[in-house]
Symmetry: C2
Subunit: 227 residues, 2 copies
DNA sequence: TCCTCCCACAAAATCGATTTTTTTCGTTTT
DNA sequence: AAAACGAAAAAAATCGATTTTGTGGGAGGA
């Protein structure tokens, strides 16, 4: 019993789980193009793994709507379309709107604190930065902030649905707004949202959230290639 | 080109896909108990398949929320709880309510026809029957009817979410109301719902749907074992 | 020229065996 | 007696190889 350092998280992970994260990143950043076929042999080689964990990882990405499996002809990256994006945005407004209402009703002081913490971390990330690592840390903080807003809604399934939809719209944003400068007033909106939520201004919070989601949607639609 | 009979469905299926259906049935009917551990070795033997397709099938059932995977310690059947059921019911009301509103707005005559067809098929199934096959055909028709009601909503993702939630609440109903006689007025409610939808009485349709879903929820809650 | 059939190739799906990790259960230590 | 340990057993995860299925192209026939 000397000064043994207890590892905070034993990192109980598996190859498949690691692969899920790696593949998700590749799809999210657009390295794997929407609609493109995922050749198992090539992927296996590229990631240096066997077929079993690769297949399992892809299967798990199906849950998130990032890939689709067709019997006997393998996996492809989920294609993108204006209609699909429209639905994602619409459902995000509905689902997150419901979730935030419930969260405002049930959230306690600890939750308020977590929101402020998440907001702080988010605002510390320079969005305009050129560095990939910094952009990535903004993405992480942004996702965490939105998740925290609804974390007190008391509905695990709903939170999962929201997370899935958020991921899907993030893919659009990251691929199609890659070269666009981020909106100026986004940080202000996040701050306004956090305060509206904490002060239990349900109406305000819902509205800011809706505007926030829909504006991003329109920005993407504007540059989405037409069919 | 003699009298070649064209197979209606080439059945482009794979072992994994077959397994998904078989496992889903086992879980839905409660053969595999909620919360129970799924021993891969035993399952492999029971279904006469290898690990690869079995693993893939289980992974796909995760999407439907019927099983859960924990790294390094395998799969288990999703446990049940009063809170979980409450959330499922709540979300079904919200999601299907939204979907039916959109469907009423966008549905055409062909859709109306499909609803009546589905309703007819449903009403032809004797719910009170003792035969397993007949009960099963009612389940199929019932699911098809509810799916048809919202099929015109123009939102594939939402339909998928609704289908998932429907499956989950069906599992509760099939397991916990196995020995209870079905409610007398359920067929009448289906008919009323179909007509309200076709006649574009949005308000009525939503209300009937909500009552329909919530009553089943209460019936299950009443017999759900307390913790 | 166009269509159909057949073969070789590529890819997906599946299997059986091997490697890791967790769980179990007796044994020891305090 | 309770906690701690460790080796054996069980189970999950992974791998490499085999089988099955889809695909593309060319020969043969209309």
């Amino acid at each position: 019993m000397s000064s043994t350092i207890i590892t905070p998280a034993p990192a109980p992970t598996t190859l498949s789980s690691t692969l899920v994260a790696r593949l998700r990143d590749s799809i999210m950043r657009g390295d794997l193009l929407p609609g493109s076929k995922l050749n198992l042999g090539r992927l296996r080689a590229a990631f240096g793994v066997s077929l079993s964990p690769l297949r399992e990882a892809l299967c798990r990405l199906e849950n998130d709507g990032l890939v689709a499996l067709i019997d006997q002809r393998g996996y492809r990256v989920t294609p993108v379309s204006a209609e699909n994006l429209t639905e994602i945005i619409r459902l995000r407004v509905e689902f997150e709107g419901l979730a935030i209402k419930e969260a405002i009703e049930h959230g306690d002081v600890a939750w308020e604190g977590r929101i402020l913490a998440a907001l702080h971390q988010l605002n510390r990330c320079k969005r305009g930065s050129r560095s990939t690592a910094e952009l990535e840390s903004w993405e992480v903080a942004h996702r965490a902030f939105h998740a925290e807003l609804i974390s007190a809604c008391g509905m695990p399934l709903l939170r999962q649905f929201c997370a899935t939809l958020h991921d899907q719209s993030d893919r659009y944003r990251r691929i199609f707004l890659k070269k666009h400068p981020p909106d100026r007033d986004v940080p202000a909106e996040h701050t306004a949202m956090a305060h509206a939520v904490i002060e239990r201004r349900t109406r305000d919070a819902s509205k800011i959230l809706r505007v926030h989601i829909e504006r991003t949607g329109r920005n993407i639609q504007a540059v989405l290639p037409r069919k």
